[in-house]
Symmetry: C3
Subunit: 347 residues, 3 copies
Amino acid sequence: MQVTVGEIATFLGGQVVGDEQRLITGISSLAEAADGDISFLANPRYEPMLEETSAAAVLVAKASASARVVQIVVDHPDFAFAKVVQQYGPQPRPMAVGIHPTAVIGEGVEIGEDVRIGAYAVVGDGTRIGAGCRIFPHAVIGDDCWLGEACIIHPHVTVRERCQLGHRVTIHSSAVIGCDGFGYASVAGVHHKIPQVGVVIIGDDVEIGSCTTIDRARFGKTVIGSGTKIDNLVQIAHNVEIGEHCIIVAQVGIAGSTTLGKYVTMAGKSSAVGHLSIGDQSVIAAGAGVTKNLPPKAVVAGAPAQDIKSHHAQVVYQRRMPRLQATVKELERRLAELEQRVKDNQA
Amino acid sequence: MQVTVGEIATFLGGQVVGDEQRLITGISSLAEAADGDISFLANPRYEPMLEETSAAAVLVAKASASARVVQIVVDHPDFAFAKVVQQYGPQPRPMAVGIHPTAVIGEGVEIGEDVRIGAYAVVGDGTRIGAGCRIFPHAVIGDDCWLGEACIIHPHVTVRERCQLGHRVTIHSSAVIGCDGFGYASVAGVHHKIPQVGVVIIGDDVEIGSCTTIDRARFGKTVIGSGTKIDNLVQIAHNVEIGEHCIIVAQVGIAGSTTLGKYVTMAGKSSAVGHLSIGDQSVIAAGAGVTKNLPPKAVVAGAPAQDIKSHHAQVVYQRRMPRLQATVKELERRLAELEQRVKDNQA
Amino acid sequence: MQVTVGEIATFLGGQVVGDEQRLITGISSLAEAADGDISFLANPRYEPMLEETSAAAVLVAKASASARVVQIVVDHPDFAFAKVVQQYGPQPRPMAVGIHPTAVIGEGVEIGEDVRIGAYAVVGDGTRIGAGCRIFPHAVIGDDCWLGEACIIHPHVTVRERCQLGHRVTIHSSAVIGCDGFGYASVAGVHHKIPQVGVVIIGDDVEIGSCTTIDRARFGKTVIGSGTKIDNLVQIAHNVEIGEHCIIVAQVGIAGSTTLGKYVTMAGKSSAVGHLSIGDQSVIAAGAGVTKNLPPKAVVAGAPAQDIKSHHAQVVYQRRMPRLQATVKELERRLAELEQRVKDNQA
């Protein structure tokens, strides 16, 4: 890249503090920036790095008077930086236009404008692929699916029959959408499979990580709300309903029929048992195991999960246990001694 | 679907309480049922829903006198309902008959009657595919494998060389059967790979979830017993032996050489370290980490796992810790006061 | 296999104690060995098995005087056994020479000598495949990747654009290398994707398990050091740096920007939050959740992780809690009684 600070500021609608003519040739984090790089400061905690960085320019929310580096003042430095990376950063090779001759397209498939489909991709009968979708090599889309516009389906993704994706949905490699839910009727010592005839419905602007599995509903639908982002290796069981704009971090597991409100955050490796209702804007800490319904704005940690302050207090109390036990032992000794003394006095 | 209550009752061998001529046009859960739907009541806890449901008919184990809805009395409502769904529910498009022209079939492959193989599937040399198997697009079966009858292999499954599947085994997308176990000999600071030359042997009627990984044995075999059901994202290490009819829920991990008896349940995210023996009918709660052998019918929770009652008691005790600590502090105060008083008395 | 004990000893540079002419026809563990098998004794704990084993010969570090079985004395019996298995054990069918006609090779791809590429593999534009690589069917290598010599890429692996693999790297099925990191800038209730334009750099002699996901860096690089071994279903987030010769067991999760030194062991299901530094030779027990920086040679357990001895003590104290609570209650009773007695005396 070859662009001046002034051009970037104009693109972002930001204010330059310093030399507008400074040439930007790369993109980096504050810590790793080399001469010519542009970077950003999102967390005020790292402000001292403004003085040390080798970056040529830094996006900031508020200009620092003491920093010698060129600054561009913008409202949301991290978001602005994302735009800079998108606009000026390294671009992947564009996918070849059209449908690769080896792609297998079923009967009655409807394909929108400017759809690109890679080598060996398979699209089932009756499926609809919206305009501008990118289906990478080796993706498999089942029969009678519905994909909105501008979806990105990475290599080795499986979308099973009848599932629906909104607009601008991205699914990463080896994720599986619409596999069977895990349900059996156990009769006389044999687990009989319960057919899983429902679907998965995914809203707009959803991103789903690699090797994440989202089960189709037993009947009805498993739902992922618009704007929700799901990381890698997450398990979402049948009939789960996730609201809009949730953040589900890697290796989370959500058991069957549990419902999440809007703006719920589940940190890495946390989990929820089945048939729960988790309120809007709840935050579930890393590794927490939720076993009860949560009201809106709950913040919980631990397994079984409890209010995060109680959890933290409990961790402290646990670490004090050796001392507590010693204290109790000493109390016992002193009490026995005192009992003896009182007895002696009475005698 | 268009079928009367009477026809369904006859199919199930059940007793109708109410209008046999009622027309059923859909399938649903009690909570979501709309007019025309058939549903079922498996858990007596939900019996009050019989009065509220909009369903046209409900499968029940025992007829409710107060419910106005048409009831069909059967032995196992959930199992009976599974049969109804299978028989009358939405049917997936049938897979095309025969072997897709793009499938790559190795030398010396034996293929039974009515086998269907999808686009781009790969079957290695010397492999045997039993009658009635469905191999979906993009499945890869290695050399010298053995598949029983009526197996279903979903897209993007990998079955590595020499592994054996019984009859009616279903494997979901992106699962990997027979990948190398994780074994190294560390000499002078270098981890040398120990060849993993064993296999995986899977019994009859086993189901394996998406993105589940089952390692081949170092030598000998990793075994999954008949009737066992395994959910998504489960890790089963080399030389593990799982008995018959076990239930292994999502994100479970079982370390090398551990043995499970029959009818063991491992709930979501639970785990067992290596070289353990877990007795028949044991139940391991969600998130539990088993570190010791378990006798038959053990029920454990927590990490490290212990008897579930002790675990629950411990959780309660932990939450009482702030109070306990306060109590001890108060005891200390009172004891010091009393000591002083006794001392004063003596003086 | 048909080889004498003497020939194996010569191959290993070991000393035979017993009959050099003994014919070896198979390979097994001590416990499962049948007549004709060779086995090994690595853990002195199992020495009594030397007297019971049906093996024909056993690799040992020190000859046992009482054992009747033929022994071959070598420095590292497990490593020596790995060599025997490699040399004489069952060999997989060799992959067909050359590039399968259905493989799709991009423009400007550089392919070294003796590279074998299987059916339907896809190699992107500008990618370099080193000599002796084995790319199995259905592997997808993106544009502008760099693979060293003798890499093994199993079926359904995805390596995304611009990632680099050293020499002798093995990647197991459905692993995903270089998928997008999980990063968003949340503005006015919308999570905007932060482009992930960095790469993944993998050293030499690295092995990566099935369904493991390694995210590309936001910018810069995610790094896996030479000699490191990673098991199945592991999540490694963007900008993580793992040192050389680490052991990362199944279902581990490492959050963004965390750095591991050399020879770190993370046992199964353990995890580390983001932006941590974990010192050389640290050991993180199964299921532990690391939330703070660790110095070199730390050994930690529990969640939040602490020194393993403190953790074990804490587990013991927790299990004593019912007794402690009873003790405190009894102290209260005795103290109240004594208070009353002292009061009565004074009266």
